[in-house]
Symmetry: C2
Subunit: 693 residues, 2 copies
């Protein structure tokens, strides 16, 4: 359901149903917050039959008694009273509601699930915009519409450009707290709760369009509308608005935890990872890491590359930083000759100026020397980021120089101080972010530079995914049909013939030319090797006859139930690298393409690349480069270079196929496509297709 969320997230007027005069309680906290930030009896209505007034605001006994119609209802009554409250609110003309109560589907009880379903049905029937239940609510910092029972909102906070959307109230609160401590200011805060009606991606879509929201951070367990998420994230990327997400579920236990407390499947972690990356989002590992990313973003510096220069007063510091930055794929390029020459004239001979730059202890004696180094480094375009590992009183010593230099460069400037320098606030004010630890710095800078570099790259635009057409029944094509199907969509398949007798098989082999492969033909047998259903390298007609008997009998022995239709006699392609390509349907993101080296080791090493379809040639090429086994396609160890262009064509044609007729295709597995030497093409040797009729 996609709805306009303005009445929910940008209300001018609010009613609290179940308002309390105990400001420690769920129904009392928003009363205090909203009164504290300037809501008046004209903009804030209170409902509770037990009071006549709260802090001077009139309190109505029920919604029908309200003399005016607010935009948003905060529903702070218990679960069983929630639906009646919604019905009254709707009757009054209220268009949006946020439901605080727990006791719904998250309890896994039949009653809770049924009550939640009633709310869903009510929303569908009325079009009412309903947030929650089982949520902390949300806050709009621009209008101070603090529709939440999270505390700390009674004093007006400055409004900012960062929005938080979290599927957990605890994590939302932690992110808010850490962000405040880090000096970040927010535009919106949303805790989505059970997402009975409105889900994560809908909030995201609304806030992504808000002009004042320049970045969004969040916590995600699962997405229910992958298509909207991808479209929104792609839109944000095009506008250079970062999306920094804490996504859980890479471990089985996490998936279990998430499933247990939100009744949601965590989905395939690898697919999430690939999809989030494809669309420009950056993932962090805990709330602190997300806030660190936001803090780096708040400097407004968005370098196009991932090249850092390390500056320290300690050779050991340089070495430690080099190791940690290498782990997060930040490049530490050797500086150009001319830059090194300039540096060598100011840095003592026992220092270093190749990058890392070791200033040596000399910095304590001569501050102008530090100024020169910073000036040289900010002027070269060989690096995108400068990291200063200069601790404690030394950082205080050089801070004025850093603060003076910061406005003159758009490089990302970061300092690491485990020693408690007093200049930290002034440095951060000037746009030099200071972290207390090396490891944490590397994670933050690595993640941020990666986001920034990708925000400059050509972006991927998702196309509407073709969902499986309803009413079709899906079954596997046999091998020959599968290859015919692929061939008819422009994919290169191996030459082959079907034969139902040994004599036919021998004749087919003569026509194709020796050697050939003989494979049992059955729609019921997906893995032919496992039933002894394949003979390779058969080199004459007698051999083909014998192979026919052998593979059909072996298959029958292993799988007496299978429909064995004969054999496929196939040209035996020699040489080439076997690659596996798979199109499957992810429940969240729709059709995805997986590529990996064929064979047993790919599974053990998990060396695969995944993308949501559609893809173009650039993305296909990027997928191949992402594989650890890529050098095998690139002439590793003197082997011939493979025809990668041909493989890329196979990948993009699969993507086109899914765009054109994907609504009838459940699954395609090509295993292998043999990629031959450069210019010699790629040919599909075996394939599995599940299609609907």
């Amino acid at each position: 359901m996609s709805q306009n969320l303005s009445a929910l997230l940008d209300p001018k007027t609010i009613v609290i149903i179940g308002a309390s005069n105990n400001f420690e309680r769920t129904g009392g906290i928003p009363v205090k917050s909203l009164m504290g930030v300037g809501f008046t009896p004209e903009t804030l209505a209170l409902i509770n039959p037990r009071y006549d007034e709260i802090s001077g605001f009139p309190c109505y006994k029920d919604i029908p008694s309200l003399p005016w119609t607010p935009d948003l209802a905060i529903v702070a009554v218990r679960a069983t009273e929630t639906l009646p409250a919604l019905q009254q609110a709707h009757a009054k003309g209220i268009r949006a509601a946020v439901l605080f109560a727990s006791g719904f589907a998250e309890e896994h009880s039949p009653e809770g699930i049924a009550m939640q379903q009633e709310i869903v049905d009510f929303a569908h029937a009325t079009g009412m915009v309903i947030s929650g239940p089982n949520c902390l609510g949300h806050a709009n910092f621009k209008t101070r519409a603090f529709a939440t029972f999270l505390k700390g909102f009674e004093v007006p906070a400055p409004s900012g450009n960062l929005a938080v959307i979290a599927q957990s109230g605890n994590i939302a609160a932690i992110m808010m707290g850490l962000g405040k401590k880090a000096g970040l200011a927010y535009s919106y805060f949303v805790n989505t709760g059970n997402e009975a009606v409105i889900e994560f991606s809908e909030y995201l879509a609304y806030l992504a369009k808000d002009a004042d929201t320049r970045a969004i951070i969040g916590y995600v367990e699962q997405l229910r509308n992958g298509e909207l998420f991808l479209q929104t994230a792609a839109h944000m990327r095009a506008e250079h608005k970062p999306l920094f997400l804490l996504k859980v579920g890479t471990s089985e236990k996490a998936a279990e935890s998430a499933a247990s407390h939100t009744a949601a499947m965590a989905g395939n972690a690898r697919v999430y990872q690939a999809a989030l990356r494809q669309v420009g989002a950056t993932v962090g590992g805990d709330p602190g890491q997300i806030i660190d990313l936001a803090k780096l973003w708040s400097t407004g510096r968005r370098p196009a590359g991932k090249r850092a220069c390390i500056v320290s007063v300690s050779g050991a510091g340089c070495a430690i930083l080099s190791d940690r930055f290498a782990e997060v794929n930040v490049e530490i390029p050797t500086l150009p000759e001319d830059v090194q020459e300039k540096l060598s004239k100011v840095i003592p001979s026992y220092g270093m100026w190749t990058n890392p730059v070791d200033l040596t202890g000399q910095v304590t004696n001569d501050l102008s020397f530090f100024r020169q180094v910073v000036s040289i480094l900010t002027q070269t375009d060989a690096v995108d980021c400068i990291v200063f590992y200069i601790m404690g009183y030394l950082l205080d010593l050089v801070a004025p120089e850093l603060i003076a230099a910061a406005p003159l460069t758009d490089k990302l400037l970061v300092a690491i101080d485990p020693g408690g320098a007093s200049a930290v606030p002034a440095l951060e004010e000037a746009g030099v972010i200071v972290f207390p630890e090396i490891g944490r710095t590397a994670i933050a800078v690595g993640g941020y530079l990666d986001w920034a570099a990708r925000s400059h790259a050509t972006s991927w635009t998702p196309a509407p995914a073709r969902a499986l057409r309803e009413g079709l029944s899906f079954s596997a094509l046999n091998e020959a049909e599968a290859k015919d199907f692929l061939s008819s969509h422009g994919l290169p398949v191996v030459q082959e013939r079907i034969a139902s007798t040994a004599e036919d098989a021998a004749a087919a082999a003569e026509a194709l030319g020796f050697p050939v492969a003989v494979k049992v033909l059955s729609p019921d047998i997906l893995h032919k090797t496992e039933v002894g259903g394949v003979q390779l390298g058969v080199s004459n007609a007698a051999g083909v006859r014998a192979a026919f008997t052998a593979v059909t009998q072996s298959a029958r022995a292993h799988r007496p139930d299978a429909d064995i239709q004969g054999v496929v006699v196939q040209q035996q392609i020699t040489g080439g690298t076997g690659i596996l390509l798979g199109v499957t349907r992810d429940p969240v993101f729709g059709p995805i393409l997986t590529v990996g080296l064929g064979g047993i080791l790919t599974e053990l090493y998990q060396d695969i690349a995944i993308r949501v379809l559609p893809i173009n040639r650039d993305i296909a090429a990027e997928m191949l480069r992402e594989l650890k086994c890529f050098p095998i396609l690139d002439g590793f160890r003197g082997a011939p270079v493979s025809d990668r262009e041909a493989l890329i064509s196979v990948m993009t044609r699969l993507s086109d196929l899914m765009q054109n007729i994907g609504d009838t295709v459940q699954e395609i597995e090509i295993n292998p496509v043999l990629v031959r030497g450069a210019g010699q093409g790629a040919v599909i040797v075996d394939a599995l297709v599940r299609i609907g009729k």
Copy 2:
């Protein structure tokens, strides 16, 4: 050089050569420190011709004027004056010296290198124990012998059980500072500097034997005496004294940085990693991570396993922790049925009690419920560690319960609080360590549990490595000689015969039985396949004759310079998994064994296991299990289980061989040994041996 370091590290009396009355200077800081902690004119002598006295202590004009002989000389004069000072000190009978000056080999200047060599020669000639140069010095917290110009020692600090040894002054200072902040107390602090005479492992060996030192942390760029390091670390492991090291050099840039500022090769990072782990040491990524490990150790809790229970008031927190702990190989086991049943009676139905344990917000209403949960979890032996993610005021609420429960269990207890709870000092006093971030907690707990678990396991005892015997000239055996050599040491090799003519080859094949492999025989050709020197699966005598001609001609064409001695005709072994085994010599740790799956992918995936020799069967088995491709030897995907016992025998026999005659062996590469089905053995098909004669 191995020396008794007591005069250096446990001096009763000290002389400062180059003492200064400016307590900000190198020669003044130790004057202030040592006077401040109780040294008297009877135990502290000062030398400087410019003063008569400093702060009431007499100051002598030179060392000969000294009326008594101190144990240790702090040499705080410039580089050029250092050797004369040492000569005077030695003449006076002083047995140990620490040299502060820089300007030696670390400057890479011919003068600096020569001056350092003079000091080395002097030390060798006199037996004087010399630390540095280019170091901060060292400190003994037990006797308050603070022979360092690091500040902050003028006030007596409580003496503790933790020693710091660092190859960088900056990192030493940072570790001291962070440790002090973390409430850790030290026994010794050593900055090793240039290690001209005494190197890291010698300090380690001395401090490892100190009864008051119960753990050692350090910073290492390179080790110069790998054998002493391994022996010492093994000894520490046997005594359950942890060794937590920050080791740099995993990245090329770090190796470069380390090399530049200490004139040292960083060595092979993979070998360091394997050797440190083999001997029970644990590696951290930055100074903060090392201090976190030491803090966990300071609780005195040393669990035997790596099973953690996560307890939170937030399902999302449970999920995030599960992901992060999985990344560091901490197990989150599902709790036993009976434990779950007990928990289910106290935790609300919408919580979780499988592990992670989600207490839900109920904890705010009922503290006795938290007490019960903690009691149930501390009593089960299904977990080794309990991690509480309960933040801010909630942690303060439950803190008294945790503090009461802590003494009743020896499990590791850890809390995570991003919210600034005030109970943190009291919790840590009780042995519940509190970290501010999830990611940092996972790294610390993962590293510590790994160390603790390994400290309970059977430990490895290094044997003296046999260095290459001097005076030998090393050359490669030809393939046949190599296999004869291995066979004579009890290793299983493929049956084969040497043939110098085509006819001999055919006859040899008849004797061995078909099919055979025909391989060119030449001591000059190490990679036969690359010169077309191998034909496989030759199935009759005529084929063998043709193969003889083909492989010798092809080899000659590729390598006209090679001495081609004929061919090896070899039984062709079918089936089995090809494994690569290599024995090489590491410059630091001596002979090491590497095992990996043979073939091109092993190199791409870097899927190898490394151990310093000797190894036993347990270690060999552990190496195999460490391989990501291990399932291939273990019946992965229905394949037959390989004869791992036979492979393990090959590995241990290689180890025995190196123990017995290793002083003549430079390198052995077995590629491959074919490991056949269970009970069918393993056979070496090809090998390269470089041996001295």
